[in-house]
Amino acid sequence: MKRKSFLLLAGTAVWLTACNKSPEAAPGGGAGKGRGTIGVSLLALDNPFFKVIGDNITAEGAKFGYETLVVSGDKDPAKQGNQIKDFIVKKVSAIVLSPCDSKASVAVIREANAAGIPVFTVDIPCNEPGVKIVTQIATDNYGGGKEAAKAMIEALGEAGGKIAVLHLKQAESCILRVKGFTEIINEHNAAGKGKVDIVTELESGGAKDMGYKAAEDAVQAHPDLRGIFAINDPAALGARAALEKAGKADQIVIVGFDGQPEGKQAIKDGRIYADPIQFPEKMGIQIVDSIIRHSKGESLPPQMLIPTSLYRKADALKDPDLK
């Protein structure tokens, strides 16, 4: 009996060693003393956006001799708190996080502050009092919303028309997107050419299934709808599916947000008109750059916004990532 249990355990141990080796061997060949470890805890790694951020921090960090440990908070503030505590025990050189809940994260960020480890946020800021964050890197969602509005006006042309907004109201970032969007639409209307009318604002959950339902409802309520602005790609794709089912796909243009691979493909296929795209890879690179600049003693601005850029069909046709 004992022999069996040992065998099993030995198996597990070998396995653990095997998976432990790969991330350590990667940066700089492991020879000599590196610059330490960057501990990264992201909101959720099942979202490709965060996966790209994590991968880029790892790759960029390796160039400068940092090891990187990327873990997923899985939207659970308690789990993320434990991960940060492990980082502190490990005495990492820097902690990067996208807080699962900015209020619940205060305690653990303070612990990191007390341990003298610099903390950086990415994508989701933490603006609570009492925490010290070196710099917060995020997409310029407000500017992105403005770009989305420009794309919408361009798509509707001279005639203008009724449009719907598919919102995700609990997310600060999406509130900013819609704010920027609405401002440009209002400016356009004040100029008095081809009035664009936001007739409804529906909750989309930022997901395909809810975006589908919301778009169905919008079409029912406003048969003459001409455009939909969805605050992210899943909501936009859900809406597109509903429009195709209702036979209104040609009548209504969709502007999304994000530029995830599936969204870009949809733009290439003409199913979404355009996206202000975010640059998670730039965010990852900028984080490593900020860590190095901080360590060199430079002073950094409290916030760094990465502008979006409009991605239309013409861009998609040239995009080497889409085959």
């Binding site: 873990v71 060199k296 003693g297």
Partner: protein
């Protein structure tokens, strides 16, 4: 002695696994540690004294308490040993940069940078020769490091206990439920419900951030009791209407989660006084966190209940063969009712602890916790078919899971792989249990 050892091994085979896991992680997290505080300062002072002459020294350290002690000690000791402290940079690398710039501007030379291990890694010191040619080529002196596993640092061991306390506490109730042959899927949601309830009670009725201790205790009790009520309701459904526990607690899981989000209005409730964190983050007894002390007390009580009291034996009897138990006069319904109520009460308590740790309440707490709790119970050797299991086993199971998670975070295993490993370990533990059973039969 020998039969005792054999019995312990066969009953708590998992403890051996846990020990081996600890040994394994101790070996792989074997790394350089640097002495902090005054000890480190002494080493650095000695090293500088050996240089001879009157070296000009810059002291650099973070603002952490240990580092502050390091700086303070150097400031008093270095001049005695003939060195001249020309500048002190404490806190951020920026302070060091400013100090260097000032020195360079004044045209002074710099011979030594005395710093802690962390400050020694600041990149501001890596290119001094090219960035500040006027300063000469100062030598960086840090305390000599020694080797010790990160895993075995006291701070980390307390960390592990603290991380698992909530799951372990809930697992007590789950062990009872599973021993009766049932299952309770609602514990994660009840945890969230309880966290939101206690946060709301404090905000709305106890005076928010100015709440008194009495108010905090009442709010916590109320939240735990309401969760207990939800558990009693599940128990009633199971015993009176004979609905399978899986279905009843699945329904309660949805109800609890929905209520938690509704009561919190999808937000985080944070208007809670600082004193409330005593339970979750305080550490009064030899710096052992209060939640961990509470966990051990609850396990001791539960162990006595299960092994020394009539109710405990009834729980085993119901799980072993409910019909036989009923015929021999065991009040089966009341025993089941007790198990589900206890499970929910403990989930409620877990919610209060989590609200205290995070100083807030939100509906998204406790997501998937039911699965971790069940895993802890099963890894601890409790049989899902009921009638068998031990409280200490569950505690060991919970610690096994915590050690694996912590160990993987310390050894740079990324998230996806962590899930795979955890899944395999749970499977392996149950497989081990099976093999042991077959060997015994």
């Amino acid at each position: 002695m020998k039969p005792f050892l054999k019995k312990t091994l066969s009953e708590y085979g998992m403890s051996l696994v846990l020990l081996l896991l600890c040994a394994y992680f101790s070996v792989v997290t074997w790394s350089d540690q640097s002495p902090a505080g005054a000890d480190g300062a002494q080493q650095v002072t000695e090293a500088i004294a050996r240089l001879g002459g009157t070296p000009r020294v810059l002291i650099a350290a973070t603002s952490q308490p240990d580092d502050a002690a390091f700086t303070a000690r150097l400031l008093t000791d270095l001049p005695v040993n003939g060195a001249v402290v020309v500048a002190t940079a404490s806190g951020e690398p920026q302070a060091a940069r400013e100090a260097l710039q000032k020195l360079a501007a004044s045209g002074g030379k710099l011979d030594v940078i005395a710093c802690t291990q962390a400050a020694g890694g600041w990149l501001v010191f890596s290119d001094i020769k090219t960035d500040y040619p006027g300063l000469g080529s100062p030598q960086i002196i840090t305390p000599r490091s020694y080797r010790w596993p990160n895993f075995l640092k006291t701070a980390n061991l307390l960390n592990i206990a603290n991380q698992i306390a909530i799951i372990a506490i809930i697992a007590i109730g789950m062990t009872m439920v599973i021993i009766t042959g049932g299952i309770d899927l609602s514990v994660g949601s009840l945890l969230a419900l309880s966290a939101v309830l206690v946060a709301r009670f404090i905000r709305d009725y106890a005076g928010g951030a100015a709440a008194s201790t009495g108010g905090l205790v009442l709010a916590s009790l109320a939240a735990v009791v309401i969760c207990g009520g939800a558990g009693a309701f599940s128990g009633l459904m199971i015993t009176r209407f004979r609905i399978p526990p899986f279905i009843v607690t699945l329904a309660m899981m949805l109800v609890g989660s929905g209520l938690a989000y509704t009561l919190a209005a999808g937000q985080t409730i944070y208007q809670i006084p600082e004193s409330f964190i005593w339970l979750g983050r305080g550490a009064d007894l030899f710096s052992v966190p209060n939640a961990v002390v509470l966990m051990f007390i609850l396990y001791a009580l539960a162990h006595v209940l299960m092994s020394r009291m009539k109710l405990g034996r009834y729980l085993y009897a119901v799980g072993g063969n409910s019909e036989a138990a009923r015929l021999s006069g065991v009040p089966v319904r009341r025993v089941l009712l007790f198990a589900y109520t206890a499970s929910a009460l403990l989930a409620g308590l877990g919610g209060v602890i989590m609200a205290s740790q995070l100083k807030s309440g939100s509906g998204n707490y406790g997501n998937m916790y039911e699965l971790y709790v069940i895993a802890a119970v099963v890894v601890g050797g409790t049989s899902l078919s009921g009638g068998e299991g031990k409280m200490p086993g569950t505690l060991i199971g919970a610690f096994t899971i915590a050690v694996i998670q912590n160990g993987m975070n310390l050894t740079n295993v990324e998230s996806y792989t962590q899930k795979v490993v955890l899944g395999l370990v749970i499977l392996g533990a149950v497989l081990l249990d099976r093999l042991r059973h077959q060997a015994r039969l």
